[in-house]
């Protein structure tokens, strides 16, 4: 699904290294690039090599992508830091699995901090998109390439193994016309009839490095203003709102459908962009909602962003299942149920 969307988005360079659970994508790209005259697929010797090949392709102006899963993404962090510093567009797919260390290959959400805090060294951010359905995965893959080019920055799609298995009908957006994409007046293609260009990240002069850092910071502010996005479900009358992203949000939605049937006023808030985090939208909700339940397939990472967004205005509860455990909607419905009644009792006492 990502593969087809990427090709339609104009991705013409893919480099990757085998790692479960995302080999289908690598294999898809191998077959998709082969017939394209301007398409390149390289099975790299390492995750590092793959991300660095993407750096090269991006310098040359191509829409380039790599993909991996948690341990592999750790290895790619070097390159992601350079992409951010050198202001190069690229799309990186992380199909998260259980960790830390080798962990396991089951779906997990343990890489939230790594993805949203930059991940590599230095003062930078990566745009992080968290699709929750097949259709959204396809749409966001296209969006990711546009964001990457527009803002000249790496974009990560943060998913998990569940996504690959979703068997949903998807309508793919029309392929983009590569000729119509905005030109890249910074790319390297030989200094013919123009002054030579340099793409670098070394700024030995501290004043220049500071200036570069502030320039990036201003860019990140613009991005935060322009693209922060969330989806809500039945929040209008809710007393309790569950906050979850990706696969966890799908499970939570199922749970909410069940508890709505027994009359509990519960809604769902689902961040679509994890960085920038849809802070304002949560703050807005807190005017009416006093209790939030953060549900993550980790020990609590997005939880921090929720708390920061709320600035102490509402109560924040947490339920997490790390290690690759996939909760059932019934399990989450039970959690919601008991929390809901506890909080209603407290409210009545007050």
């Amino acid at each position: 699904m990502i593969g087809e969307a990427a090709v339609r988005a104009g991705c013409r360079f893919y480099a990757g290294y085998p790692i479960t659970p995302q080999n289908e994508l690598t294999e898809y790209m191998a077959n998709a690039m082969a017939p394209l005259e301007d398409g390149t697929f390289v099975q790299a010797e390492s995750e590092l090599a793959a991300i660095n090949m993407v750096i090269g392709a991006s310098m040359a102006g191509a829409r380039a992508m790599t993909s991996s899963s948690s341990p592999g993404i750790s290895l790619k962090q070097e390159g992601i830091s350079y992409l951010a510093a050198q202001e190069l567009p690229a799309v990186i797919i992380n199909t998260m699995r259980g960790g830390p260390g080798l962990g396991n290959i089951a779906p997990s959400q343990g890489d939230y901090f790594q993805a949203t805090r930059g991940g590599g060294h230095g003062d930078y951010r990566t745009i992080v998109l968290a699709p929750a359905s097949g259709q959204e995965l396809a749409n966001l893959t296209m969006t990711a390439f546009d964001y990457a080019d527009n803002y000249r920055t790496p974009v990560m799609i943060l998913g998990d193994g569940m996504m690959g298995q979703m068997m949903e009908p998807v309508t793919f957006p029309d392929p983009v016309d590569l000729q119509k994409l905005s030109p890249k007046p910074w790319k390297l293609d030989g200094a013919d009839g123009r002054p030579s260009r340099v793409i670098l990240s070394l700024l030995l002069d501290t004043a220049k490095e500071e200036e570069h850092n502030w320039k990036l910071a201003r860019k990140y502010e613009t991005i935060a203003r322009e693209i922060a996005r969330a989806d809500t479900y039945m929040t209008q009358d809710a007393h309790l709102v569950v906050i979850a992203y990706g696969t966890a949000a799908r499970i939570a939605k199922g749970a909410i459908k069940r508890v709505r049937e027994i009359g509990l006023k519960v809604g769902l808030f689902r961040p679509v962009t994890l960085w920038p985090f849809p802070q304002r939208a949560i703050l807005e909700l807190s005017r009416f909602v006093k209790d939030f339940l953060v549900f993550e397939m980790s020990t609590g990472q997005m939880l921090e962003d929720v708390k920061l967004s709320l600035e102490g205005r509402s109560r924040v509860h947490f339920y997490g299942r790390p290690g690759g455990i996939i909760s059932t909607p019934d399990e989450i419905a039970k959690v919601i149920n008991s929390l809901y009644h506890r909080q209603r009792l407290e409210l009545e006492e007050e």
Binding site: F13, A49, I55, A191
Partner: protein, 250 residues
């Protein structure tokens, strides 16, 4: 009427090298700049400079430059060349960059037969970080991390990366030269010229390893350093064509 027979090549920017007196990097930069002009490839050349003393190469060579993370030159060059097969893509890398932290990237680029050119500057030491042992430091040679000289039992022996690369099927042309004497400088220029021509002809991976003096970290005068290359370094890293599958390229 006197005719100028030697002047600054046009692909060398007008800036003054930051390199130490007698540093081989400067000579190699100049040779590359001369060839970019002579082969008429300067306008389509893209250079991938390294981390290390030559990290500022973009201040000197007047071509497009895309800086790679330490050791990743061959991978970045792969991305560039595959996207722009008609351009001339070359990396410029030191021994630590290419034969330690970037060994894997280099070997696999060679093995895939990437149609790129690598200028591998071997001065046996990590110059920029202050003279630590490099993979190519000679046995017994002093460095800041090999007290008493490099001891094979403790530090391993000098690594001959060029030989290793020659084994890879995809490598086409590999030669080792030096810039310690006028004769060797001329030979280096011929080797780099051939390496570029191999790429221009689309034949595959080419590499020139250039033994280069680092007078500063060797703690020698430039003249002594040049002699040291002759008397010691070439004994372990002999100057020769290591592999040539290309034959005569025009």
């Amino acid at each position: 009427m006197a005719k100028k027979v030697f002047e600054r090549p046009k692909y060398l920017k007008k800036s003054v090298f930051h390199y130490c007196p007698g540093c081989g990097h400067s000579i190699i930069h100049r040779l590359v700049a001369e060839l970019l002009d002579e082969l008429d490839i300067g306008k389509k050349a893209i250079c991938v400079p390294p981390a290390g003393c030559a990290v500022l190469a973009y201040n000197y060579l007047d071509v497009d430059m895309g800086e790679a993370p330490h050791g990743r030159g061959a991978a970045v060059a792969t991305g560039l060349k595959r996207t722009l097969p008609d351009k001339i893509v070359f990396t410029y890398q030191g021994d630590g960059d290419i034969a330690a932290i970037g060994t894997a990237e280099t070997i696999h680029a060679a093995n895939r037969g990437e149609n790129i050119t690598v200028i591998f500057v071997n001065n046996g030491v990590y110059g920029m970080t202050g003279g630590q042992m490099a993979p190519t430091t000679l046995e017994g040679q002093n460095s800041t991390t090999t007290p008493g000289g490099r001891d094979p039992a403790r530090d391993g022996s000098p690594l001959d990366l060029s030989q290793m690369l020659a084994i890879a099927k995809g490598s086409v042309y590999i030669e080792r030269t030096a810039v310690n004497s006028p004769k060797n400088i001329r030979r280096t220029k011929r080797a780099i010229k051939k390496a570029f021509k191999v790429q221009m002809a689309g034949l595959g991976f080419s590499l020139v390893e250039v033994l280069s003096p680092c007078p500063t970290n060797w703690k020698m005068t430039p003249v002594d350093a040049a002699k040291w290359v002759e008397e010691h370094v070439t004994k372990i890293f002999p100057l020769k064509v290591i592999k040539d599958k290309a034959g005569k390229v025009t």
